[in-house]
């Protein structure tokens, strides 16, 4: 009995039972029946396990697909959020974009670095503080929506790292931003 219980594969069990049955008189009838029942039970368990594994794989595929969809949505939303002059208020567009990243971060364990930037106008040190305020505005919005604070880091570069080098509003508006990395 214990011998059978230790055998793994249903097919092997079947083969064994046949061999034992052929031995005839040395094995009692009821023992043979019990062995057969055990073998069937074993086979059923195996089948259930295989089904569970198949379902798990399917779930994982679905999750991966969902993750991919969230990642795609986050990518589509962009990783740069823009601000008005001397403001750290999140625009509706910025919130919508950040929402996509929140959904993604709630589905994984990734950390993010939020880099705050300003345009070139005014004082560099003040702009450093303003860039931090912008990064923190994004951080606070994400935390309020369930992203753990320890997974977010705010860094301000002030006006030191512009993406558009020229002056004038068309360049400045591109530089007043938070980049999620």
């Amino acid at each position: 009995m214990t011998v059978f219980a230790r055998i793994g594969r249903a097919a092997l069990v079947g083969a064994f039972v046949t061999v034992l049955a052929a031995c005839g008189g040395s094995v009692k009838e009821d023992e043979a029946a019990a062995a057969e029942a055990a073998a069937q039970q074993q086979a059923a368990q195996e089948a259930a396990r295989a089904e569970a594994a198949r379902q798990q794989a399917a779930r994982a595929r679905e999750e991966a697909a969902a993750q991919a969809a969230l990642a795609d949505a986050a990518t589509a939303a962009g990783t740069v959020f823009y601000f008005d002059f001397d403001s750290s208020e999140l625009s509706r567009e910025a919130r919508a974009a950040i929402d996509a990243h929140i959904a993604l971060m709630l589905s994984n364990r990734a950390s993010a670095r939020l880099e705050g930037h300003t345009d070139e106008r005014g004082s560099r040190a003040y702009n450093q503080a303003l860039g931090e305020r912008r990064a923190n505005a994004v951080r606070d919005y994400m935390v309020a929506n369930g992203v753990p604070a320890y997974r977010l880091e705010s860094i301000s570069y002030g006006e030191e790292n512009p993406v558009a080098y020229g002056s004038g509003e068309s360049n400045w508006q591109q530089n007043r931003r938070v980049e999620l990395k």
Binding site: D86, G122, S123, S154, I155, Y165
Partner: protein, 433 residues
């Protein structure tokens, strides 16, 4: 050939073009209406070998850079006296020089410069003096002579024997930019790179004795405050807090450093005791408090805060913790720097949508806008209170310009390439090294 040499050296990691272009040169853009003609006669050399520097030329250039003097061209001089006995006033009146400076340079490893200043009209000696120092600091000795002559003729000490700290930035279209914290003489000569980084460097500041500098560097990918000794090169990281580590400002007695940290939530002013590293929080406000600067008496700090909605300058009294608003004119006033007399405050001042440099008189509260350019920033005042040096835009580059506190004289300090920003004018430094 020179080009090939440069390329070769660049491969070795020695960027000649960068070194050459990092040097600033002064170009006077506006002087006073009737600059005083003064003749700086070539100084006699009574030393070993050949002189390393033309000291009279250094004095001549300094006085010209002040915008208040019109040095006589050497080619117009009828004689080159170096002693009083060789001086004939009629030779100098003939070429309309009002003042004459003669002198001689002596020494070898140690240099002595002796000069005499004469009034050509009254035909009398006004002053004489000797400055001395090591030969490698001969240029600084020349600047000291210029300081003394400037003081004799204007009543205000000169600020030529001083140095400038600034950040030069070279863009790298293929990746991160190059930042160089640079130290140079006040005339832009002898630039030395103190720190080179691919990440931003900002807020350079001087210790009150001019022996150390502090700055913010992002080299660890986060901002941190460092101090660096100019003699030994020793460098020390002072802060590494979460969030902003910004705007170091040495106290006038050198014992403490005001700074901005946001470790407790948002940017506030802190004071670090440099002996114990103990931190004292000075301000506690949900608004931005930043860029502290000391009043010369060390009893209060000026700083920028947007606690009233827009950035304005406030004053913090250390004894009482009391805070008073200082600026009321204009929607944006920031980055205060106080002259040594404790009266004139240079700052960024927005008017008509443009960012200018202005000076506010703390006694009368009168604000005078000194510049007409836009995007002016980072004002720093010469230790004699006469000039405000600042950064402004020239196309896509940042360059340094200077303007007299009374607006009468202007000069620029262009670099051949790259941006130059965040100037910090040194206190008076000692050349007796």
């Amino acid at each position: 050939m020179l080009r090939m040499l440069k390329v070769g050296l660049c491969v070795l990691g020695l960027s000649v073009s960068t070194w050459a272009s990092a040097q600033l040169s002064i170009e006077i853009t506006q002087g006073v209406d009737n600059p005083t003609p003064v003749a700086i006669v070539p100084f006699a050399w009574r030393g070993v070998g050949a002189p390393s520097e033309d000291v009279a030329r250094i004095v001549d250039n300094d006085l010209a850079h002040s915008g208040q003097f019109a040095p006589v061209n050497r080619r117009d001089m009828l004689s080159f006296p170096s002693r009083a006995s060789e001086l004939y006033f009629r030779d100098w009146r003939a070429i309309s020089a009002e003042y004459i400076v003669i002198g001689e340079v002596r020494g070898g490893a140690r240099i002595e410069v002796e000069y005499q200043l004469f009034d050509a009209i009254r035909q009398v000696k006004i002053a004489s003096g000797v400055v001395s120092g090591v030969a490698s600091e001969t240029r600084m000795l020349g600047h000291q002579v210029a300081d003394q002559i400037y003081e004799q003729l204007t009543g205000i000490p000169g600020a030529f024997a001083t140095r400038l700290l600034y950040v030069s930035v070279n863009r790298n279209p293929n990746g991160k930019d190059f930042y160089r914290l640079t130290l140079a003489d006040s005339d832009g000569r002898r630039p030395i790179v103190l720190l080179e980084s691919r990440d931003p460097i900002l807020s350079p500041a001087w210790s009150p004795d001019g022996s150390e500098v502090a700055y913010v560097s992002y080299e660890t990918s986060r901002p941190a405050i460092y101090r660096q000794n100019l003699m030994t090169g020793n460098r020390e990281q002072l802060t590494n807090f979460t969030g902003l580590n910004s705007s170091p400002a040495w106290s006038p007695d050198g014992s403490a450093m005001a700074m901005v940290l946001s470790k407790d939530g948002n940017p506030d002013l802190y004071l670090m005791d440099l002996a114990t590293r103990e931190l004292t929080r000075l301000t506690q406000h949900y608004a931005i408090d930043t860029e502290p600067t000391w009043m010369p008496d060390g009893r209060s700090l000026l700083f920028t805060s947007d606690r009233g909605g827009k950035p304005q300058i406030y004053r913090y009294e250390l004894q009482t913790g009391r805070i008073n608003r200082v600026t009321f004119e204009g929607a944006y006033n920031a980055r205060a720097r106080v002259a040594q007399d404790g009266r004139n405050v240079a700052m960024i001042h927005q008017s008509g949508g443009k960012y200018h440099i202005a000076v506010q008189d703390l006694v009368t509260d009168r604000v005078t806008v000194l510049t007409t350019t836009d995007l002016d920033e980072s004002p720093t005042i010469a230790p004699n209170g006469s000039m405000v040096l600042y950064a402004t835009k020239d196309g896509e580059r940042s360059i340094l310009r200077a303007v007299a506190v009374d607006g009468g004289v202007r000069f620029s300090l262009p670099a051949r390439e790259g941006s130059v920003q965040e100037p910090a004018w040194s206190p008076y430094v000692n050349a007796q090294r």
